[in-house]
Amino acid sequence: MTTESGFHDSVYDEDLLGGDASHWAFGTSFEDPLAGVDTTIPDGVDPEELAAYCLMLGDDALIYSHRLSEWCSRAPDLEEDIALANIALDLLGQARLLLARAAAASPAVVPAMPEGSPVPPEDALAFFRPDAQFRSTRLVEPDNGDFAVTIVRLLLFSTWRLALLERLASSRDQVLAAIAAKGVKEVTYHRDYAGRWFLTLAQGTDESRSRLLAALPPVFAFHEELFTDHPVETSVAAAGVGVAPSDVAAEVAVILEQVFSVSGVERHDVPQIGPVAGGTGRDGRHTEALSHLLAEMQSVARAHPLGVW
């Protein structure tokens, strides 16, 4: 919510908890990550590029959140089920804020909706864009595979994203900085969770170790794409608003090396999945898996564009 003054208003304690937080013995004192944040677009950055950059980070979180949510009711046990759902929800929260920021920076990126549609801009971006307009990196698109593939992908994704968010927390865009500061705490836990399971699977049974080793090539085939700068990323980084992924490659490599080393797993270079027609996920060139994912994720919203949820 943005007031006319250009500052974000908190809706948390009053609206979501029903007015009087003292009714609740536990679970109060929620905080709106954007409360009081200056929402003006900083000088020296092209609003179109800022919007595109927010879509990149937001789509990564949205698509990966949906993939992780597919573990609901299917995880190895109840505790892991809840852990993966929590991680998915954290990422969904980041996606919502980032897509809303994209829409605020450039309303032109939001798909046109029928007159009278109550769909907010971030939902229109999530549920009414075709696959070629998504800017997510291809790492987050393929099916989950088994638990080992899930853990390896989560380790790579969260290590990469945490490094990006840590730098983004000092963005000149106050909204991006606040979203990143919130995300750092969340993704730190995701990385910790993935790292512990990586070690456990590697040092567990013969079965768990062989599955972990088998999970490395398909996941790390998208490694190079993560650290290849898109022109938009280069530009927003130069403007002090975004982060160029190539800048975090070295520190991500150090963290991964630590996890592999303590787990007794050797890291080999695996064949990389290169650009398609000169582009990758950031350009809207995706794997087939994304189309299937979106078909399922968007079908209900698209059938009821005037629906209220």
Binding site: A25, F26, E79, A83, N86, Y189, D192, T200
Partner: protein
């Protein structure tokens, strides 16, 4: 898969989880869960029992490490306290600004 390894057949041990809320002074039992070891029990407890901002501290204890009183001993253990009202400090006045009594 023909044979399931022994480790997979056995359930993980049960842990009892205690959470200290922001506004409470002591850890309170909130439930139980399964985990392979102590570290994982804390992580699971964080995921299962503190999702709604309930806690600032977690204790996890193996359930089989807890000594519990038996329902059969209820009378000898607790009934003798029934009529000893003088053990409550109700004969003192408590200042209004003393919380958590």
């Amino acid at each position: 898969m023909s044979e399931v390894p022994e480790m997979v057949q056995d359930d993980w041990p049960l842990y009892e989880i205690f959470v200290r809320g922001k506004r409470g002074l002591n850890h309170v039992h909130v439930g139980s869960l399964h985990a392979a070891d102590d570290e994982m029990a804390l992580r699971h407890a964080r995921d299962v029992y503190t999702r709604r901002n309930e806690g600032v501290s977690i204790w996890a204890v193996r359930s089989d490490a807890i000594a519990a009183s038996s329902p059969d001993e209820k009378d000898p253990l607790f009934a003798p306290a029934n009529d000893k009202v003088y053990r409550h400090p109700t004969f003192y006045s408590i200042p209004d600004d003393v919380p958590h009594m």
